[in-house]
């Protein structure tokens, strides 16, 4: 069964993540699950540089390490439980939504990949605990996760606002066309005003592409406004979104290889960085 999964880590944006996850859960009529991943490093043993090994050192060492990690592990589980319980209570009070919280050990990436089949939409905060509120840096995990799974990922930001409208960044690439088809066929964004935006020099080819996209969406009952902008992709899209009070930005994420990104950077990453709106990444 597909579920909305919200990743919680106790960072300041936790409530926003819950809010958006609840909104999607309502919209898609899908159950919401809250995930807390324990990926902290192993406990540090006390430094013993004596370098001597004697009778049963291996066994003693193993026993010491097990005890240390056991204590640390218990605290981590407890901490995560409190976090999940609070989130569950918050969602129950605010949205009257019953949710299920669960914990996993390992890296977030591994966990998300192993859960991929069950995921309908993954909701994550923009900032992890490690990149707290430094707006120039997105959470270290987001890009890795988005690249690894083929399910929609919502990166939340700013205070929650129930989305009324959304903007699709459209460049005519195969990724973007897929993205349009996905939006058209899914109940995810039904009933929201759609803004179809292309950034670049207008050309006949582009006009054709845009009208194709518009038609795709309109045939599924969307109200569509199209527009062509000039300038840098991320900046123009963001100022357009601010101007039209758009609540959600949708992009086809990471269409290019990692190698290419290494040299010329990724529009997607820049967009997430700059965005004051939540960004829905489709693959």
């Amino acid at each position: 069964m597909s579920k909305i999964i919200a990743c919680l880590d106790g960072s300041p944006g936790t409530h926003t993540v819950c809010d958006y996850a609840a909104w999607f859960s309502h919209k898609l009529n899908a159950p919401l699950e809250l995930l807390h991943v324990i990926d902290s490093p192993k406990a540090q043993a006390p430094q013993d540089l004596s370098g001597a090994i004697g009778f049963g050192s291996r066994e003693t060492l193993l026993q010491e390490l097990v005890e240390l990690e056991e204590r640390k592990g218990k605290i981590e589980i407890e901490h995560g439980k409190v976090l999940l319980e609070e989130a569950e209570k918050y969602l129950l009070n605010k949205f009257n939504l019953k949710t299920y919280g669960f914990q996993r050990r390992g890296s977030l990436l591994e966990t998300v990949i192993s859960l991929e089949e069950d995921i309908r939409v993954l909701v994550m905060g923009k900032h992890g605990t490690q990149t707290e509120l430094r707006s120039d840096k997105i959470g270290t995990q987001i890009e890795n996760v988005v690249r690894a799974i083929y399910k929609p990922v919502l990166v939340t930001a700013s205070p929650f606002q129930p989305p009324q409208s959304f903007l699709v960044a459209f460049d005519g690439s195969p990724t973007a066309r897929k993205c349009i088809e996905q939006i058209a066929s899914s109940p995810l964004l039904k009933g929201l005003a759609a803004f179809l935006v292309y950034v670049g020099h207008p050309s006949q080819e582009m006009q054709n592409q845009l009208s194709w996209a518009k038609q795709q969406l309109e045939s599924e009952g969307f109200t569509v406004t199209t527009n062509t902008l000039e300038g840098e992709v991320d900046k123009s899209i963001m100022s357009y979104a601010a101007l039209h009070q758009i609540d959600l930005v949708v992009v086809g994420a990471y269409g290019h290889s990692k190698i290419r990104q290494f040299f010329i950077g990724s529009t997607t990453t820049r967009l997430i960085n700059r965005s004051t709106k939540p960004v829905l990444l489709l693959r």
Binding site: L49, I53, E110
Partner: protein, 507 residues
């Protein structure tokens, strides 16, 4: 679902490097130093075992530690020149010389890389816990025995020095504060060296054992004729070295896995060992592998990532090249004390304590492994014997799961035999003798539908029974043969499905 295992996941390269190299910098650098200090006496001692200059072992230890830190599959494990490998080289060095050893080292590396690509690490599942314990204990005994030449026909100061050295190693860590900050083997070496110099004792020193490194290692090709004759000389040694090296590396990797509660990539480790040995061979070093004692010391000192292994190699080189004049005056007694410590620390003492509680067959496997190794000085033979014995004991246990019960019908003319359990080469005779051929009957029914026929011996046994009854004039009807022989390994395609066990149970 894609990429469930830790290997298949497209983990981003950079975060991986950070995790495997720089997630524990302080602990790794410090433990690297401790390990480097302990590697010096070991490398010298193992060079002496192999019959080469100490610099061969020291260069090897440096090369292997540094290269394996990049190419290995088990972060935090220490590899260098080892006793297990050194013991196998002795005759090669004696009969053909150093250059052939270097060539054999390179060939060992090539074989290990091939083993890595063939995923031979997976064969380790046939090596039972008892064999592993036997291997480790045998290794500890070999390391200890290798010290005996230094302790026989020597003057009393040598014994006194060795005993004092052991006392310092084990008592110094008990000193509050500094005891856990300064490696006690280092203290031992310093104290014994000072004593030997001040008292002007006439005892053997490291300098007497051969040449020490005075320069950085340089790339060189072994000076040997490249022909089939050379290959025939070095190949048997290389095969043995590759096998023992991989065995010890895999076992050490498992020990480090357990201690740190993390997983390792064993096949990558095989390839890494290969690359490291090739590098060692070209840098004038002898073949090596992972070290159990040093890896335990590394984990105990706080080392966890590749950085610890890398630091151990680099510190070793710095110490050796810049302190070689000082290394020369270290009395051999100090090294012997350190090596006895390594031997004690490597030995699995719990195995002696548990010998009463373990089943006899496990103890026999363990002791046989140790005995064969001590007799042959080749750990591979010990493991081979251990694995064979384990397999035989296992077959012996499984053959007990066979029962043949029979009932005579009301008329007294037909007897039905019901066979349940495992029929294979080992239990085939038991199966055959369970039938009473002397009983004069007109008809016999053999119901084998609840038996599992594992091999050709089992099928042949049924044929034999049928023929025997026929010769007695009894009509034989075998039922359920198809279901039973479906379990024959060759046709046994169900083992990949989760309900394989249920299907087995249905017979």
């Amino acid at each position: 679902m894609r990429g469930q295992t830790s290997l298949g996941i497209p983990i981003p390269m950079f975060s991986n490097i950070k995790e495997q190299w720089f997630s524990n910098i302080r602990g790794d650098v410090l433990s690297g130093m401790v390990v480097a200090l302990a590697l010096i006496p070991e490398a010298i001692a193992f060079s002496i075992i192999a019959g080469v200059d100490p610099k061969i072992g020291l260069y090897a230890s440096f090369c292997i530690a540094v290269v394996i830190s990049f190419f290995g599959g088990r972060p935090g494990m220490i590899s260098a020149a080892t006793a297990a490998m050194a013991l196998l080289m002795t005759t090669l060095v004696k009969e053909h010389g150093l250059e052939y050893l270097l060539a054999a080292t390179i060939l060992t590396g090539i074989i290990q890389i091939i083993a890595g690509y063939l995923k031979l690490a997976e064969l380790m599942r046939f090596v039972s816990k008892s064999v592993v314990i036997g291997f480790v204990n045998a290794l500890a005994i070999l390391i200890f025995m290798a010290q005996l030449p230094e302790l026989t026909n020597v003057t009393w100061p040598v014994y006194a020095m060795t005993a004092a050295g052991l006392a310092i190693i084990y008592l110094f860590p008990l000193v509050p504060k500094i005891g856990s900050l300064i490696p006690s083997p280092l203290v031992t070496i310093l104290v014994l060296t000072l004593v030997a110099i001040t008292l002007e004792l006439d005892i053997r020193t490291v300098g007497d054992m051969g040449q020490l490194p005075d320069t950085l290692p340089v790339f060189l090709l072994p000076d040997i004729p490249l022909n089939l004759e050379t290959f025939n000389i070095i190949f048997p040694y290389a095969i043995a070295l590759a096998a023992v090296g991989l065995l010890e590396s895999m076992m050490t990797a498992t020990i480090v896995d357990d201690l740190t509660d993390t997983s390792s990539d064993k096949n990558r480790e095989c390839k890494g060992q290969g690359v490291a040995n090739i590098a060692a061979g070209f840098m004038g070093g002898m073949a090596g592998c992972a070290m159990i004692g040093q890896s335990v010391i590394n984990v105990k000192s706080g080392g966890r990532t590749r950085l610890s292994t890398f630091c151990a190699g680099i510190f070793l080189l710095i110490l050796v090249v810049f302190l070689s004049d000082w290394l020369k005056v270290i009395p051999m007694a100090a090294l012997v004390a350190v090596m006895i410590m390594v031997s004690i620390g490597t030995f699995n003492w719990n195995s002696l304590k548990n010998i009463h509680t373990y089943p006899l067959s496990s103890n026999i496997v363990m002791i046989a492994t140790v005995a064969v190794v001590v007799a042959t000085h080749n750990l591979a033979y010990g493991v081979l014997i251990g694995v064979l014995l384990s397999a035989l004991f296992f077959a012996n246990k499984i053959e007990r799961y066979l029962s043949v019960q029979s009932t005579l019908d009301n008329t007294g003319n037909t007897r039905t035999y019901v066979v349940k359990g495992q029929v294979f080469f080992s239990s085939a005779d038991k199966f055959t003798t369970a039938f009473d051929f002397r009983e004069a009957l007109s008809k016999v029914v053999i119901d084998v539908s609840q038996a599992h026929f594992w091999d050709v011996s089992a099928v042949a046994a049924v044929d034999k029974v049928v023929i025997k009854f026929k010769r007695e004039g009894t009509e034989v009807n075998v039922i359920g043969m198809n279901e039973a022989s479906q379990t024959m390994i060759e046709k046994f395609g169900v083992h990949v499905k989760p309900d394989a066990l249920d299907q087995l149970g249905k017979h």
